[in-house]
Amino acid sequence: MSPNEEPLLRVESLSKNFVKSQNWMDALVGKKPKMLHALNQVSLTIPAGQTVGLVGESGSGKSTLARCLIRLYRPDEGRILYRGVDIAQLPEKQLQEYRCKMQMVFQDPYSSLNPRLTIGGMIEEVIQVHNIRPANERKDYTASLLQRVGLPPDAMKRKPVALSGGQRQRAVIARALAVNPEFLIADEPVSALDVSIQAQIINLLHELQQDLNLTMLFISHDLRVVRHISSKIVVMYLGKVLEVGNANDLYLEPLHPYTKALLQAVPTLENVKSVKEAALQGETPDAYEVPVGCCFQNRCPNVMPICSQIEPKMIEHSPDHFTACHLFSS
């Protein structure tokens, strides 16, 4: 991608907080409700026509980020520039045209399909609402979509309960593709599937991304899963981006201590010898209080005094490889 090419999506300083519901006594006294800082000044770019892998554990904010990008949530601060247009605060009416441009595939195949609609009925509703095809072409279009995702045509008449997990996930993908999106967010699309089916769905997404020149944001907590199809990886922790880089660079030479620990913690067939010490101690803290300085200071094996004073900035260490860590700031 040439440096002058405008990325499909540019996120700038995005923040999102969730207010924890208070009991009425505290509210009466005027106590401030606790806020969960799910996203904290997150910035990243998603180049067009590529797959970006977003990696993080629970509490990292990756799902919140996905839902802000797709405007299921409205971010509190920051901008989301879709081809240069800020959609972060757009009212629902104006957002409608973007609904057809970005779509999402969810994690749980058992709750992402309306149990009372047949697969065909569900897709036809999409076609009907967005007027994608005239009435006489709808059935054929549905059939071609199902074929695209590897479902037999008779799946049209079935309800989700008759489909397996992998088949349901294919139906979800078909529904997302029905509007011809250019941007697809896959939020842990294979985490709930069996291993042998995971590979099928990952391959399917990869194939669709290439054939349709989709831009894809593939979110997962499993570093192994994103490895194969991402060209760029973003690592998140506690609502912040810690490292960004090309897939090869990041896996071969991780910079941030958290990335290193993540890679080390992954159980692979290659490191069959059991390791004596865990890769990372401690647990991810709740995001109710944002610590001063680096968000990773409580668990970092390389923590220094400066880490609890100043928040590290995102700095380019080598071409296209960024990290926010005081170990690397000059």
Binding site: V195, A199, Y251, A265, P267, T268
Partner: protein
């Protein structure tokens, strides 16, 4: 090494509306003292059912119909309910997958650990031992933690608490049913390290059930691969990964994404997981096997020792290495 657990021809059946299925179909394996034995399989393979069958924790109408379970030299499969109750929790204990639901939400953590202790201990002894247990499983500020409720613990801590409860009666055999599946990667890493350390210290045998080959590779010394209720391959972990002798094992290994990227395309196992109500006549994996022949589909395949200590349920086990490298070459062309 002394043999701690021996399972022979275990069969569990579930009667359905118009048929009967066997989620555990003549499963045999053994676990030695101080050894971690892994069982790998996908959903429907029967791996969880096997654990529950051993400890008689099945939900009716599922029930064990056949087989012999020998623990520490005693045929516990013959025990009455009362006799078995003495074994369950004391000799053999179990850790479950979901830390959210395996702890009682209305009891404090301390109470749940105390329950596991012997009735003969005094209150003071219980407190001391409970604190000690929590420390052993890596929970800091143990005294305060004992008074807390499960919902105040994070997922990783709940699993640690679960392990503490399990260890309260010093079991010699631990059945772990996907204990880290619901946890974050770094927490999983911590729990696996902890379990391994505890296993070594107490010389416990562990049966570790998982769908993740990587986790089993890291934790276990020996392992079995299950498919459609049967063990299809069994050997030491090193042997299986260096010289797999069943197409399903190979398929699993190939379809698993790995950190060392070989290609951008994974090699999935074609087809769908088996339906226990409609199993094929011959080899159960034949419909999905790239090397299946007519011989494979004729009659059920028995498991046999294809190399010392290495068992496989494949007729072509001997040629597996060659078949695999041929397939690899084909893919590169």
């Amino acid at each position: 090494m002394k043999e701690l657990l021996s399972i022979k021809d275990l069969v569990t059946e579930i009667p359905l509306r118009d048929t009967v299925v066997y989620p555990v179909d003549h499963v045999s394996f053994s676990v030695n003292e101080g050894e971690a034995f892994g069982i790998v399989g996908e959903s429907g393979s029967g791996k969880s059912m096997t654990c529950r069958s051993i400890l008689r924790l099945l939900q009716p109408p599922a029930h064990v119909t056949h087989g012999e379970i020998v623990y520490d030299g005693k045929r516990i499969s013959d025990y009455t309910e009362n006799e078995f109750a003495a074994v369950r929790g004391k000799g053999i204990s179990m850790v479950f997958q979901d830390p959210m639901t395996s702890l009682n939400p209305v009891l404090r953590i301390g109470e749940q650990i105390f329950e596991a202790f012997d009735a003969s201990l005094t209150k003071q002894q219980r407190q001391e031992q409970a604190v000690e247990l929590l420390k052993q499983v890596g929970i800091s500020s143990a005294e305060e933690r004992l008074k807390e409720y499960p919902h105040q613990f994070s997922g990783g801590m709940r699993q640690r608490a679960m392990i503490a409860i399990t260890l309260a009666r010093n079991p010699r055999l631990l059945l772990a049913d996907e204990p880290t599946t619901a946890l974050d990667v770094t927490i999983q890493d911590q729990i696996l390290t902890l379990l391994k350390k505890l296993q070594r210290e107490r010389n416990m045998g562990v049966v570790f059930v998982s769908h993740d080959l990587g986790v089993v590779a890291r934790f276990c010394e020996r392992m079995a691969v299950m498919y459609a209720g049967q063990i299809v391959e069994m050997s030491s972990v090193e042997e299986i990964f260096s010289n797999p002798q069943h197409p399903y094992t190979i398929g699993l290994m190939n379809s698993m994404p790995s950190l060392q990227k070989v290609s951008e395309w994974l090699v999935p196992i074609s087809g769908m997981p088996p339906d226990l109500r409609a199993l094929p006549q011959g080899c159960r994996f034949a419909p999905r096997c790239p090397w299946a022949s007519s011989e494979c589909e004729k009659a059920p395949i028995a498991i046999s020792e294809t190399a010392p200590g290495h068992f496989s349920r494949c007729l072509k086990a001997a040629e597996m290495k060659k078949l695999v490298s041929d397939a690899k070459n084909e893919r590169h062309e």
